[in-house]
């Protein structure tokens, strides 16, 4: 087993473990922290796969911004009472349905990915390990996929406006 294999197995194991901790942790801050560990390991996995850019972006966007905001929310709302709940969802049948549904999807795509794993790399428009990957990616993003790229930006902007609008309404109701 080469060092790269070893690193891969370590990263996968740590990611699964921290994912489980995220789901099962009683303490909300610990859950968010496990999520952070998961994201950092994911970034290293991307680095190992040869995509330096994606791994840096993964840390900047998810670890640096999204999870910090999660932590903010967890700080500012008091979750003392909820932390003492033994279970959050009592419906066992509901859990079973979702488990089967997601399990089915998971198995389906797992099989799909494995069946074409040898040719997966050739499907990509660019080789992520090459030194020109960043330039090529930017070219694709700003020429061929420009519309989709801008669309995502507009959607995010709408989300921000929507949040501000909703909060304003709540505030005005409280004042009036």
């Amino acid at each position: 087993m080469s060092a790269q294999d070893l690193a891969f197995y370590y990263l996968s194991f740590a990611m699964i473990l921290s994912g489980l901790f995220t789901v099962f942790s009683r303490n909300p801050v610990h859950a968010v922290l496990s999520l952070l560990v998961l994201i950092v390991h994911q970034a290293f996995m991307l680095y190992l796969l040869g995509s330096e850019f994606l791994s840096a972006i993964q840390i900047i966007v998810y670890a640096g911004a999204v999870v910090v905001l999660f932590l903010f929310v967890v700080y500012l709302i008091n979750l003392q009472k909820e932390a003492r709940f033994r279970v959050f969802v009592r419906r066992f049948s509901l859990g079973l349905i979702f488990f089967i549904l997601f399990g089915f999807l998971f198995v389906k795509y797992f099989v799909l990915i494995f069946s074409m794993s040898t040719g997966l790399r050739t499907l990509l428009p660019i080789d992520p390990t090459s030194s020109q990957a960043l330039k090529m990616m930017a070219r694709y993003l700003f020429t061929e996929y420009l519309f989709q790229f801008e669309l995502i930006g507009v959607i995010l902007l709408v989300v921000v406006f929507g949040t501000v609008f909703l909060l304003r309404k709540v505030k005005e109701e409280r004042v009036g």
Partner: protein, 329 residues
């Protein structure tokens, strides 16, 4: 000599070089605290540390020894694991950036294609040390300090990234080594002259990112006692302190690399390849200390206003002009 180096296996070599680099940086950090105390003392017409060793030169070592001997107090109702890990997160994220800085034409520990992005990523991760210590301490002062700091770091990071992006645009690369080479090849030899606005924005944001005066609101001692590390003592407290000074060194080194031409100088000094880099670094570090001795602290709303209403528009306008000139000149 080169024969011996060639025989060492590569991973071990990297480890040795990293170890040496880390220790040299630690030495710089230790004597930066000494320099700060001495220089501020001079500016305030005091003597500063002068008891331990000649001219107080052994003061940093005495400080570290003292802090190591202190009792490691962990308050009763803290979240123990988070409380213990927070200073380490701070220190690691602040210190790792050194490995990405090209210190010399032939010496950079890890020459990443996206080195600049990695330094930004590390600086955004270093906010966790502050936030987590603030929460885990289970103290109001610490929580307020942590909240303030995270808001501050997130806001100023945007302006800092925008300022650095105009440098990336000019150099055409995220690789720090390539940025230095592009600077040397450019007509002014440094990016300080064409990118003076970006340099200004970067330096202000670097002050805010490292929680230094005049943006030291997270630890404002007159209102929050000491902010997020109020419950820490002994060596854990020292780790936070170290992280702050590591942050200063990394930010200054990044400014040297991106704006002041890195290791390049007006002429080669035989036998001293790092001399120009270190000289520029010391000038910027002196600037940090000078600012601390000169400026009063900002109010919190002023700080946020400066970040969002002045620095971000300024950096955006600068980026726009840079892109325009790059396209049509």
């Amino acid at each position: 000599m080169s024969d011996i180096i060639a025989q060492i296996p590569y991973p071990l070599l990297v480890f040795i070089v990293a170890f040496i680099l880390l220790n040299l940086t630690l030495l710089h950090v230790a004597y930066l605290t000494y320099a700060e105390r001495k220089i501020i003392a001079r500016m305030q017409q005091r003597l500063g540390p002068n008891r331990v060793g000649p001219r107080g030169l052994l003061q940093p070592i005495a400080d570290v020894l003292k802090l190591l001997q202190k009792e490691d107090i962990i308050p009763n109702n803290v979240d123990k694991s988070v409380f213990k890990i927070a200073p380490l997160i701070s220190l690691v994220c602040a210190g790792t950036g050194v490995s990405l800085i090209p210190l010399w034409e032939k010496f950079v520990l890890s020459n990443l294609n996206v080195g600049l992005l990695f330094i930004l990523a590390l600086s955004s991760l270093s906010a966790y040390g502050v936030i987590l210590s603030g929460w885990a301490s289970n103290s109001r002062y610490a929580l307020l300090g942590g909240l303030r700091s995270s808001a501050q770091v997130i806001s100023y990071e945007i302006a800092m990234s925008l300022a650095l992006l105009s440098v990336v645009l000019m150099a055409g690369s995220f690789n720090l080594q390539d940025i230095v080479k592009a600077q040397v090849a450019s007509p002014f030899k440094v990016y300080l002259i064409p990118q003076v606005v970006a340099f200004f924005v970067f330096m202000v944001c670097a002050l805010a990112e490292t929680n230094r005066v005049p943006f030291d609101l997270p630890e404002a001692e007159t209102e929050l006692v000491a902010g997020y590390f109020v419950e820490y003592s002994g060596i854990r407290f020292a780790l936070f302190y170290l992280a702050e000074y590591f942050g200063m060194v990394v930010m200054s080194a990044l400014a040297v690399t991106c704006f002041l031409g890195g290791y390049a100088g007006p002429f080669e000094v035989p036998g001293l390849p790092f001399i120009w880099f270190l000289l520029k670094l010391y000038v910027l570090l002196f600037f940090y200390i000078w600012v601390r001795a000169t400026l009063p602290r900002y109010r919190y709303d002023q700080l946020m206003g400066l970040g969002w209403k002045v620095l971000i528009p300024l950096a955006l306008a600068n980026l726009f002009v840079t892109a325009f000139l790059k396209l049509y000149l």
